[in-house]
Symmetry: C2
Subunit: 359 residues, 2 copies
Amino acid sequence: MSEFNVIVMAGGKGERFWPLSRSQWPKQFLTIAGNRSMLQMTVDRLRKLAPLDRIYIVTNVSYRNIVKLQLPELPEENIFLEPVGRDTAACIGLAACKVAVRDPNSELLIVPADHYVDDEQAFVDSIQEGRLVLRATRGIVTLGIKPAYPETGYGYMQVSMRTEDRIFSGYKVERFLEKPNRETAEFFIRQPNYYWNSGMFLWHTDTIERMIARFLPDLHKGLETIRPALGSREETAVIEQVYPRLPAISIDYGVMEKADNIHMIPCDFGWNDVGSWGALDKISERDMYDNVIQGNVINLDTHDCIIHSVGGKLIATLGIENMIIVDTEDITLVCSKYRSQHIKDLIQELKRQKLEAYL
Amino acid sequence: MSEFNVIVMAGGKGERFWPLSRSQWPKQFLTIAGNRSMLQMTVDRLRKLAPLDRIYIVTNVSYRNIVKLQLPELPEENIFLEPVGRDTAACIGLAACKVAVRDPNSELLIVPADHYVDDEQAFVDSIQEGRLVLRATRGIVTLGIKPAYPETGYGYMQVSMRTEDRIFSGYKVERFLEKPNRETAEFFIRQPNYYWNSGMFLWHTDTIERMIARFLPDLHKGLETIRPALGSREETAVIEQVYPRLPAISIDYGVMEKADNIHMIPCDFGWNDVGSWGALDKISERDMYDNVIQGNVINLDTHDCIIHSVGGKLIATLGIENMIIVDTEDITLVCSKYRSQHIKDLIQELKRQKLEAYL
């Protein structure tokens, strides 16, 4: 039986949680919900599936010390470092190469470091179902989430409902669909066979290598330059030289949308990608006025707000609703809840005004 | 001809400008609009009417050093100190007694320290008109403001439009009206003979004494206990003993509403009592999106907001309108513009929660 390894992608910048997330301390390392960081909660969850030495973290070289700080028991060689971010295809390609040095032909679960899962046991059960399907198909198995509402911030998957296309609990994926507009999202959620793409999937290391060779030949070529150096003293130098020139493309766009033999496990474990401040509404405890509050806050006639104070200052609110207020040591953000997807625009504006110190 | 003296009432707590105004540094000492504090701008304006040694500041004993700091050229004996606030009737009564020691029978202009005046020359002209009326009537002359909109936060005056009731440019006041509700305010502003009560008035020291004796006998009795000590070494001790037990009542309610022989000068000098954060809309420069902004602020899609940062922090706003945001060293306020009159409720809540350090 193949070994089972887990890759946690933890290289993101998470700008949408600005000003709590900063370029030096992005979202996956923040304690946004609960008592542990997103990364810590992700690894806690995964330890129910694999021992810690089979869990690998891929992150940017500048976040190495944060990962070591947050995961002190993780073997240091399980932290894979990217000199720069080159999107998920390169990240997964490099991780697959590195894992293959130890386990040439293992099952690989790929998960982002910064997603929320409410029901850990259901998550574990879904992965175990997925592994059954993976062994039967030797293809790709993705985790799909039954849409609860017409979210426009997620990609979707369309699956076949035909019995003959099912493998155990896995539906055959017919199409990957990019983030829809509102109207399209409303159509999707009325169909029985459209699911949110959670960005989590299972495949074998050799499948990854074969798919990258087939659909992303430039990435394949770069990885083949890196492969002989892995484990040698030149590894870091070679990665530093080759990695920045790899094509930057997502695994969804570069591989998933083109591959066949993909099956999807329909999941229901309270998943959220925590893609913006607005997501806290769905994953956090609310007070009797539907506010999500953390820190030193006093409020009157305040409804449906997210108020997050980490700077220690008192935040006082009066007569407001549907607002996001985030107070840090040097920045206070006040934002409409309907606009939390657009915090990136504020970051662009700060760059334009040469105020990078606030990023 | 009588001497002309000016009393500036500067003892208020100005809670409605919390968190910028604090119990140790209330509104009249803040630089809310322009480059100087409300008190400094008030005195600058009055110096066009009287020399500095004829201008007196009545304030709480705890604010003495702030007044000295902000008005370094003012003779120290022109600062009249109240051990506690006992509303405007006691304040004016005490000030009249003290001025009468120097000028037994002078004209007295009474003004609050924390009002805004846009057109200083028009203000000076109105006071001079008022003095003509005062000399002709030897009664009380008030300054009335033609209402620009149905403000519910001001008191109103109803005047007689009959020619035979006019003295120079002064209309005879028929009634003082307390702060109206919205419907009543809308009726008032449609009438030709309703004016805002600016809280500024002219009378002679002996008129004040006579009116207080007639309408507020307890206050009169208290002041007569203080009067013999004025100028003596016992002055402070006697005031400290007697003043806290004086009746706390406003001059409007205690005297104006009962007196006759009151005339009103209709004024148009861009007056505002700056009674709340919302007032900044009317007296401050706005940007092209109708925001009033001070301090380190970056904004996108932000309209009709008042954003005031004195703590040095960056305030970033996105997709908001009609909000008041005030950022100080230890407090951030986020408040609907329509609720700025209710900041007192937040202060009550802080007291209830024993968080007086934030007041």
